[in-house]
Amino acid sequence: MIDEFLPRPATGERIHMQAAVEFRQICKRFGAVQANAEVSFGIPNGSIHGLIGENGAGKSTLMSILYGYYQAESGQILLDGQERKIRSSQDAIKLGIGMVHQHFMLVDNLSVLDNVMLGNEGGFRLAGHRAAAEAKLKSICETYSLEVDLHARIEELSVGVQQRVEILKQIYHSADILILDEPTAVLTAQETEALFDVLRLFKQQGKTVILISHKLQEILDITDNVTVMRGGRAIGTVETAKTDKEQLASMMVGRPIQTELPRAPYRPGAAVLEVAGLNLRNRQNVGLLTDVNFEVRAGEIVAIAGVSGNGQSELMEILAGMRLPTSGKIDFLGKELPLRQRHDADGLPAEFRRLGIAHVPEDRLRDGVIKDFSVMHNTIFGYQDQAPRKFGLLDFKAVMERCTELLKKFDVRPADPDLRIALLSGGNQQKVVIAREIAAAPKLMLVGQPTRGVDIGTIESIHAQLLALRDAGVAILLVSVELEEVRSLADRILVMSGGRITGELKIDEFDTTKIGLMMGGMHKS
């Protein structure tokens, strides 16, 4: 049944160019997990090559083998047709391979120049070498039109610019093959566009780029070929021009993906959440939220779209009781939430929960679970004071029964209540969090980035759960930076930019360009 999604192999004549990288029968095992199994494919010289697959499909392992972090148990790597043994990242760098990690490898309190020179200082005295390095960097910046202040300290730079520094570092170390792991996850649309311009220039210079991404649209936009991985194997390599999202998604998951989930007709009930004149200023008196007004009604999903870092996270934290606003009024079920009498938000989320506000936090591992607790312990997290008890002690037998039911209902795998939750995949952790919050039977559900770092199959199931909750009459406020997710879930869309709501539209007015403009703060509806 897998075969029907297998594309025909790219024809021989297309790969007449020498492959910059060729993997042959790469195998790598971690304990019981076969992370890479007989992975074979080639990456033509001077191309941008996409590498996609669900979490745990083996992409990162394969790239770590190429970059010398791990050694393959068997198989070969050929660079420009020659077999190479890459035993460490030093070997990889010498062979012209550069890697930009998802989490930047930069020293925050050093300047851009010093960061680039790090590991390549050229002797005991820095000064002479530094001048030469600066000259070389300036010329690189011009060639690739990378705008970077070489003397700025890393901590002063935005995420997008920090990434530019990482790329600069690789070019400086004369990388011919550049690996980028989820580079756009932290970028705004404009920054992503700028990054892609750099990558195209890189390709024009005859260099090769390997791009790992979850975002299929980006893969379609920029790559020449795409290799799909699943369960540690390379399922197939296709020419980007001859494929589409549906085919790629099916290859990743191994079954067709339902894009349109069933939902009941839109019949919103009474207002559940009413936010009026909400403002938030930080200690430096910079406005993080400015005059935010909106409402969410029973039985509707209101999505807040926007580039991350435009106030959505702060707004969700305020609504969940994790943070106090500077001013403004929030009504829940027609009654004002108890904010005015508070000096700090310490313990406030418990009160909000009791009123019927559930919250799936955006940063699951920081806020949503205790990694060292078992799955069972995590299913009462936030509701520990309402958990069943006997003689004043927690009744873990009852908690266990309830947990077993939840794991079954929400298809968490493995369904083992005693397992530490850290050992579950990101998608399954998220299912536990969503199961817990839905089981609390809330009136209002706050959902932040529900499918971040979650694979396609799980996304489908999480979306179905949220829609079922909406159909049951719960008010849902969703924050997502994925427009695709907003489109498939929302009844109404609010767009946030710079801490303000810059636009509102109904789902039938959905228009990517218009939303994009609002997200940039350039459009007032």
């Binding site: 304990g31 969940a320 009781g321 994790m322 938000a345 310490d346 313990g347 406030l348 989320p349 418990a350 009160e351 909000f352 929960r353 919250h359 936090p361 920081r366 806020d367 949503g368 679970v369 205790i370 990694k371 060292d372 607790f373 312990h377 009462i380 997290f381 936030g382 520990q384 004071d385 958990a387 008890r389 004043g392 002690l393 927690l394 873990f396 530490r420 850290a422 050992l423």
Partner: protein, 360 residues
Amino acid sequence: MSANELPRWATAIALPVLNLVSALLVAGLVIYLLGESPVESLAILVNSAVLNPEGLGYTLFYASTFIFTGLSVSIAMQAGLFNIGSEGQMYIGGLGLTLAVLALDAALPGWLMVPAAIAGAALFGALWAWLPGYLQARRGSHIVVTTIMFNFIAASLMNWLIVSFLIPVGEQRPASRLFAESAWLPKLSGILPVLGDTPLNISFLLALLALAVYGLAVWRTSWGYKLRAAGLNPHAAHYAGVSIAKTIIVAMLISGALAGLASVNSLMGSTHYMALNFTGGAGFIGIAIALMGRRHPLGILLSSILFGALIQGGFDLSLEKSNIPPETFIFIQGLIILFCGAMENLYAPALAALLKGRKA
């Protein structure tokens, strides 16, 4: 495979035993270099600390104090707080106890005097821990720094109080007057004559009770659930509605009260007066016990007995073997802390590889 992925029995039993054996091996080597037989020394140590009933009595007597200081450090650790100040809290707890006794021992019968003195110890210990807790919770002053400083303040304060006010007129020794017998704790030798004439008293039973209460409170109540959540991940605990400030302050109050209770054993069970520096480092040993016992009631009990045995056995060892100085106990204690605390995961990779090899 990291230590986290080892099965529970391996991290709970195999690793501590391996670490302990390593510490004893190094100690044995040093004893060998001192010109004595390690095997014979170990035999003397075990015989004197465990096999000889009177020695066992002393071992458990020392352990009674260590259980309380170990619990004091452990409960704070559950909330993510490294309380270095159990020593000072125990010292100030002793002051509370002594003041209660000095004020009331002439008037109250034993069944009222003992609870009142115990309450005084817990109250003063808790108050001494409250301020560092408050400063951590509300002002962000790091608990490690403040509690270390509070140890020094406690030592100086007690020095001044004992020397200026508590020494009875005409006495030279820096200690309070002898307590009236109403403030003496019943000895266990009354019930178990086989243990001989040792200071082992009912505080050992109180210590066992405290272990049980600690175990239930931390693992079986929603309060303990919140305490551990706050200790493991304060961000997530805040999300879950746990008041972090309150948790920190309450954990420190309990930690201080337990440290204060550690003073009961020696003051009311053995010396029957309070002398300068009576704590003798028991608060610091509590840190080693919490680390080695992995904050688990059974672990705390076993490590406390181990440390009690080392004091008792080490003392006899130095009497019998002229080449072995009395400080040997401190040396072995240091080795145990090194192996069980600082290098606790030394054998984890090897053990993991071994287990993996066996399965494959």
